[in-house]
Symmetry: C2
Subunit: 369 residues, 2 copies
């Protein structure tokens, strides 16, 4: 019986375990937080990322290590890689943890990005603004997620405002892309080199947090699909990547610009649970085990709506025909991802109608558009 060790025990890890249990796999988790959601469904070792004794105990209990959290320190992953197969390789973490590394990799592979420049000092910030122009977004290079660690600069006088929480961190300035919409491509590459791509998802964020994903993204033609798979394939190859990789994209006048990547299963892929022949969670496991990948074909027109900060009455959600309720067992807290609802329908029109029904029971303003 193969036991998978997962670094991070949030909802992504929990859903990995639920997919893997179906295939007879076992799981152990490692996290800094005792009440992490995956700990409700599998043994959880609690420790800091530099607690070598706790990490050794975790490693002893598993055959293979992966992560569900991209801010696992690279040193931790490397330490485990000395004794265990670790997938994706720590190098992928290293790239994904730093927006400058990430964008530099994209650029080196010929993948379009917003203009960007590293910013370490006030003088560098001014030079970067001169080169890139305004509006632009100033971001911490590391540890930003769900819109944290970012500031939009619109006018020259915005440069005079103190940096606040951004101060003292290595920063990156990115040109503001007046994009038409946000898309994401989910890709997977097996230990054997086999690759597969799910259909592009269209994503709607609010306050920097993903709210709604729809896949296949409406109005995406073969050319855009091929372009997305092509750019994701370049990243998979460049990193000798094993597992699921998500790349967030901006669509701008028919072109794709890569915004950021996540070396793990991704929120915009939750709709693959019921919306695809094989979910991102199952294929991530198949990939790291070197098993054949499952079909990524959609089984219908799918949407995912995040439940953030509060959960609706389960009865109200489940009364909607075809609604699949996913809850992570977390306590409510403003801005916290507590669960999601997947909808899968046979036509785009039926999906629109199902989303409208869901909007009456889920307090998610972006559903009303």
């Amino acid at each position: 019986m193969t036991t998978i060790g997962v670094l991070g025990a949030g909802q992504l890890g929990r859903m990995l375990a639920l997919a893997g249990y179906e295939m007879g796999l076992r799981f152990v988790f490692y996290d800094e937080t005792p009440d992490a959601p995956a700990g409700h469904v599998a043994p959880l070792t609690v420790g800091r990322w530099d607690d070598h004794a706790a990490l050794a105990a975790f490693a002893d209990a598993c055959d293979l290590v992966t992560y569900e959290f991209e801010n696992v320190p690279v040193a931790t992953a490397e330490r485990l890689a000395a004794t265990h197969p670790v997938a994706p390789a720590p190098r992928a973490l290293e790239v994904a943890q730093d927006r400058l590394n990430e964008k530099t990799l994209f650029r080196s592979l010929g993948i379009g990005t917003a203009p960007f420049a590293a910013v370490g000092t006030t003088a560098e910030l001014r030079r970067a603004v001169d080169a890139i122009g305004l509006p632009a977004v100033l971001k911490t290079r590391r540890m930003g997620y769900d819109g944290k660690g970012q500031r939009v600069l619109r006018r020259p006088e915005d440069l005079d405002v103190p940096l606040g929480p951004l101060g003292g961190h290595p920063l990156i300035l990115e040109g503001f892309v007046p994009f038409d919409r946000e898309l994401s491509i989910l890709a997977v590459r097996s230990r054997t080199g086999e690759t597969a791509y799910w259909p592009l998802a269209e994503n709607v964020h609010r306050d920097g947090i993903l709210r709604v994903s729809v896949a296949p993204a409406p109005g995406v033609g073969d050319a855009l699909t091929a372009a997305a798979a092509d750019l994701a394939g370049k990243v998979l190859t460049a990193l000798d990547y094993v597992g699921v990789l998500a790349i967030e994209l901006f669509e701008h006048r028919g072109d794709l610009l890569a915004n950021e990547m996540a070396p793990r299963v991704h929120n915009s892929g939750h709709l693959t649970i019921e919306g695809s022949t094989t979910s991102q969670f199952e294929n991530h496991l198949r990939a790291i085990l070197g098993w054949p990948l499952g079909s990524t074909a959609p089984v219908g027109f799918a949407a995912m709506v995040n439940l953030i900060g509060e959960t609706p009455d389960p009865r109200a959600v489940l009364e909607i025909e075809g609604a699949h309720l996913h809850l992570y067992g977390k306590s409510p807290r403003p801005g916290r991802k507590l669960g999601h609802v997947n909808l899968v329908e046979r036509s785009p029109e039926a999906l629109t109608a199902a989303i409208a029904r869901l909007a009456s029971v889920v307090a998610e303003p972006t559903l009303a558009r």
Copy 2:
């Protein structure tokens, strides 16, 4: 957070937990066996069915009790029902544990069965054979499953053979039905009284063990579908039943005869995991919680193939496009159900082709028919 307590921790319980975890539920299990499959995914209390202290500890940890094993002693279920909601009610266990009770209930509801008679003595056996004729099947009234505790009587001299393992048990003689095929109907009734029915499944047994199910069963018309739902609905109502109920049926010249019922999720319903909008596992939980039931509509043409005694190389199964591998984490042993493979296709022809591909990697002779 609602915690469901499940009596029995086999693969059925394991799959209940995996469905319930998706909805944020928690689980605790109770079983006589320490290494039971559900114990790999949830806390397991190990004890005998009459260990009141262990049962009390289990009960303290849950809000609601159900079972995945129909031979839980009725006294155990009744004891728990004094302090906790128990669904289905112990009365359903009482009926389902005794073939005579079961067939008497069917008959009282106007549901067709094979002719049957209770047999306590050799004299009663001879009278029963005189009334019912040969061939006939002599079965233990209680504790029979997967073909155990049965003997076919073909000729008068078969009555002179010592009863062997059947001796000393209350028995039932059932007329042998020269049926065309075996079907099953899965029904679910919520605490609120809402009911739903999955499409009829066609089942192939060998050596008394279910090998293959296909649903929707080929060639079933509206009349047969309505008849099956009608008879299942009568049983649900008669027992004021809450949860999933399976009834095994014989189809004989266009008529349905009820063979036996299981007051729980059922092996022939495993294909609902990927084959239906809502699986039997999810709907069982929704029913016992009083939540709205999910759609039981098929999402395609589905088949389930049990993996018995040994498991094939996962790679070989997963190479088959659309094959969903389910393993229960059990050690191999002859005759033991270790897992199953679900196939879901868009047409009956595609399903036949997928089954043929699976037959090349799964050693299941009934696939070759």
